[in-house]
Every structure is written in C-alpha cells, then in structure tokens.
C-alpha cells in the first residue's frame, strides 16, 4: 500500500512533470551517473549497494586516500592488542566485484547548479546525483593556541591513522606516574562512546605497564553514552570512584577549555582553571567536513540538513548527504549509522533514477565499546520515519547491554571484534 508520504512525494514529482511538460531527467537509469564523495563507511556502502541494486548505473567514488583506515578498532591500538595496519581496508573489491569507478583525488569544489564536481587537478566530473559522505572536520577557532598545524604535538586521534600512532607513541614514551588528559567534545560529534572507550583502552595499557599513572577526562557534556555501564565497568577494572582510581571524569559544560599551552601541555578553562598533562588528547569540537561547507550544504549548526526519506539535501537538490556530516538525529554519528544511512540513500537514489516508488526507510545502529581486551559493552537502537518525516526510535527496541555479568561482557567483547570484521565486509567487500 502506498503511504501518504510516498503519495506526496510522487505527486509532487508528477506535478512538476505536468507543469514542465517533460521530465528534466527523462533518462533510464542505464545512462545515469552517481558520483560519491568520500570513501568511508558511508560512501563505500552507498557505492557497493547502488551497484547491487541496479548494476546499470555508473558509480564513481572519489577518495584521496589509497586505502581506508577504520576508526572503529583504533582505540584498541592504544591498548596494545591491535596493530594499526590491521585496520587498513582496500578499495580494490569495490572496483573488481562491483565495477565502482575509483578516483584517488581530492574534490576542490561542487557546482550544484550545473551538476559537476571539480577535482584538485581541475578535472570536471559531471553527475546526475551526487552523494556526499565526507565525514568531519574540527572547529579550531574555538580554541586558542592550538590548531591543525600543532596536531602532531597534541594529537586528536579522531581520524584513525597517523594520529592514532602519534597518541600511542606518546603513551609509550610517558613515565610511570604520568597524567593523561582526554578532552571529550560537546555534542554532536563522531562516535559518542568513543572518548570513554579510549579512556578504558588507555587504562588497560597503563594498568599493565605504568600502573601509577592517571587518566583525567575533561568533558564538555554533563552526561554521555553508556555512562552507567562505563562507570560500573571502570569500578570493577580500574578502581573508579575509589581513592586510587585510575580514571577520573570531570564534567565542565559551563567552564569550557579556552586555551592550550602546547609547550607545557597545559590547558586553561574559561574560569582560569589549569590542567597539566603528560599526554594531552584534545578532541576538538566538530562540524561537517569542509567540502560540505564550501558547497553550501550546511546550515548554521555546521552540519548538513537532509530529507530523511531520501537523504537528499534540503539546501541543494540532487545532492544527498550521509554519514557523520549529515543531520540524522536521533541517530548517532557512527560507522554503523553511516552504513545504515548509505543503504537508505542507495535505495532512494536507485528508485529516484528509475522513477520507482519510494520505500519506507529503516535504520539500525549498534555501538560496541571495549572496557578491557576481553570485556565489552554495547548500545543499540532501531529507527523508523514518522508521518512528519522525522526519524524516531522504535518504542521498546534497543538499549544497552542487559547486565554486567562477566560472561555477558565477554560475549559483548567477542561480538565487538566480530562486528568490526562484518561491517568492513558489508561496506567495502
């Protein structure tokens, strides 16, 4: 049965057809070209899935990096039981199995009116529909004394790769008895449980190698994802809330960090409080990646508003935005969510190009976090679209790990490791 939303959608298209007398894009899908910017979980999944749904559509993925390094699993590198190289993912299978064209270049500009993308070498790539999945960038203007040019000294490690290795090396060079300060960013940001899994993984490393050390989390928020599960697990493994706690959590939403003294690895807050670190992991406030801003795809929030049924930008027609850069509340910004959003987007793009009926979308998200190498926790949710076009959590679904019994947390940790393999396979292979 056709829903009211589908009817509205179709009827607005039919009305446009009737008014113009002919269809603006009256081609069949076999002549259509979909260009995708960004080869992360969102972009790769969209590329693969469009080819799976309709192999006659030409798909081109534009991504400057020769291979991808997954953010999921990158905190495990800090703990010492995962090698950074094991997070490398090749784009070769998208090409060989699904015939996705891959261009390893940076996009310089997008021309939404004329429907083309200009690459850094000035080459123009025309598109019928564009999918933008560029991830995040940082709002350096909110902090004094630190920006991208000093991020090799104060690593954010919020994009996996060299940054992860820099942070790991600093932890290894730190003395026993040192202080690690993690600055957790305000909402919204990539991977809501990430800073706290990171604290767990650093604590796991320090407990074995530098047990006199401490981790201080300075949080721009008053609460965070899976908070009670993290607190209980930290109590069990890292003495949390005792006099000898390895992890301290300080919530400072009204007293944000304003200044960083790089040389002394020292932070200053709005009220003038000073925190000194031996290893400083400042995770900056975030926004959609710069290309989304220069293309005019962002609103005043710094993120990209979209129609949730199609992921099409509400600011530029024929451009879809998915993944961390897009506004998909209440779905969090995660690899799993980017994969789910890419699937909804792929269905929508294929249906629009073929002039098929729109389908009812659905999203699932799961975020696993490890507490130790063998213990893990999770949060999950299923999302649907309501009649007002808003994404809502399905009542009664989802939630966190049902109990904190050791056996349960062992299963969760095993699932977390298995999940990383399956999501990579589903997105890239």
């Amino acid at each position: 049965m056709i829903s009211r939303r589908q009817f509205m959608h179709l009827s607005s298209r039919s009305a446009a057809l009737w008014l113009t007398g002919c269809h603006k894009r009256a081609f069949n899908s076999s002549s259509a070209h979909v260009v995708i910017i960004g080869g992360g979980f969102g972009g790769a999944t969209a590329a693969k899935m469009i080819k799976q749904l309709d192999s006659s559509i030409k798909v081109t993925l534009i991504e400057p990096k020769q291979h991808y390094i997954t953010c999921p699993g990158s905190n495990w590198v800090l703990a010492g039981f995962k090698k950074i190289e094991s997070l490398n993912v090749s784009y070769q299978q998208l090409l060989s199995r699904y015939d996705v064209g891959i261009i390893h270049q940076k996009v310089a500009t997008i021309n939404p009116e004329k429907h083309y993308v200009t690459l850094s070498d000035k080459q123009k790539i025309p598109y019928d529909r564009l999918i933008v999945s560029p991830g995040i960038d940082f709002r350096w203007e909110l902090i004094e004394g630190h920006d991208n040019s000093t991020s090799h000294l104060i690593p954010h490690a919020w994009k996996a790769g060299i940054q992860t290795t820099l942070l790991k090396n600093q932890l290894q060079a730190m003395k026993n008895g040192g202080t690690v300060v993690i600055c957790a960013p305000p909402n919204p940001f990539r991977c809501p449980p990430g800073p706290y899994e990171r604290a767990s993984m650093i604590a796991y490393y320090l407990k074995q190698h530098k047990p006199k050390s401490k981790i201080i989390i300075l949080d721009a928020k008053s609460q965070f994802s899976k908070q009670q599960l993290f607190f209980k697990s930290w109590e069990k493994h890292y003495g949390f809330a005792s006099n000898n706690s390895m992890i301290e959590w300080h919530s400072i939403p009204d007293n944000p960090i304003r200044k960083i003294d790089i040389k002394n690895r020292q932070l200053e807050t709005d009220f003038g409080d000073i925190f000194k670190a031996d290893v400083l992991n400042y995770i900056p406030t975030q926004k959609a990646a710069n290309i989304a801003h220069t293309a005019g795809l962002c609103d005043e929030s710094g993120w990209c508003p979209v129609n949730h049924q199609t992921s099409e930008s509400t600011l530029h027609p024929d451009i879809h935005v998915i993944g961390d850069a897009s506004i998909q509340n209440p779905i969090p910004k995660s690899a799993f969510a980017a994969n789910a959003e890419a699937k909804v987007c792929a269905f929508a793009v294929v249906n629009l190009l073929n002039q098929f009926e729109a389908i009812e979308p659905l999203w699932v998200n799961t975020c696993y976090s490890l507490i130790t190498q063998e213990q893990g926790i999770s949060i999950a949710m299923v999302y649907k679209l309501n009649q007002q076009g808003k994404i809502i959590k399905v009542t009664g679904a989802g939630g966190v790990t049902p109990n904190i019994a050791e056996a349960t947390l062992t299963i969760e940790a095993n699932n977390a490791k298995r999940w990383l393999k399956t999501i990579v396979m589903d997105s890239f292979k």
């Binding site: 009812e360 659905l362 699932v364 299923v382 009649q387 049902p402 999940w419 399956t422």
Partner: protein, 96 residues
C-alpha cells in the same frame, strides 16, 4: 447540519491520520540492515544448509518476545513488527 458535517470531517481526518501511522518496512530493506552484522553468516548458510522461512521467522519472533535470549538480538528484534520479521525471513530465505 453544518455541525454534523464538521464532525464527519474531523472524524475523517483523525481516522486518516491513524490509518497512515508508520507503515511496515519491506523485507528487502530490513534484510540489508541484517547484513551489516550477518552478511557473511547468511551467505555461508546458503551454501551449507537450506534455511526455512518459518524457522527463521520463528527464531526472530523468539528473540522479539524473549523466548530465546542473546546479548544483542532481543534488543534488535523488538524494533520490528511481526509482519516485518516474516517479510525479512521470506526475503532472506528466498534470496540466499
């Protein structure tokens, strides 16, 4: 008379709104969300043993109504209507 018409119109609007409450999602759309975690498993299943639609549906319903427990699937299965679980079981066993 006008009042009666008004009532009928209000009734029509409210029942229409009710009829259009969240539609079921297709088996195909649901199946693609399964593949995020179970892609390989479902592909292997096809080559090793045939999977019956009814047994898959029953397993999913058992997760939904807590007759079977797992660390994750109970939380996920509760996000779907019984019809959607039947549809996804049909799609997966038919296409794999």
């Amino acid at each position: 008379m006008k009042k009666i018409f008004k009532k009928i119109i209000i009734l029509f609007i409210t029942t229409t709104a009710y009829t259009y409450s969240m539609a079921d999602v297709s088996g195909k759309m649901v199946a693609y969300t399964c593949y995020s975690c179970h892609g390989e498993q479902l592909t292997n299943l096809k080559s090793t043993q045939p999977l019956s639609t009814i047994s898959l549906r029953n397993t999913l319903l058992a997760f939904k109504y807590d007759a079977k427990s797992a660390s994750m699937m109970n939380r996920i299965a509760k996000g779907f209507t019984d019809n959607e679980l039947m549809a996804v079981a049909t799609y997966i066993t038919g296409s794999h």
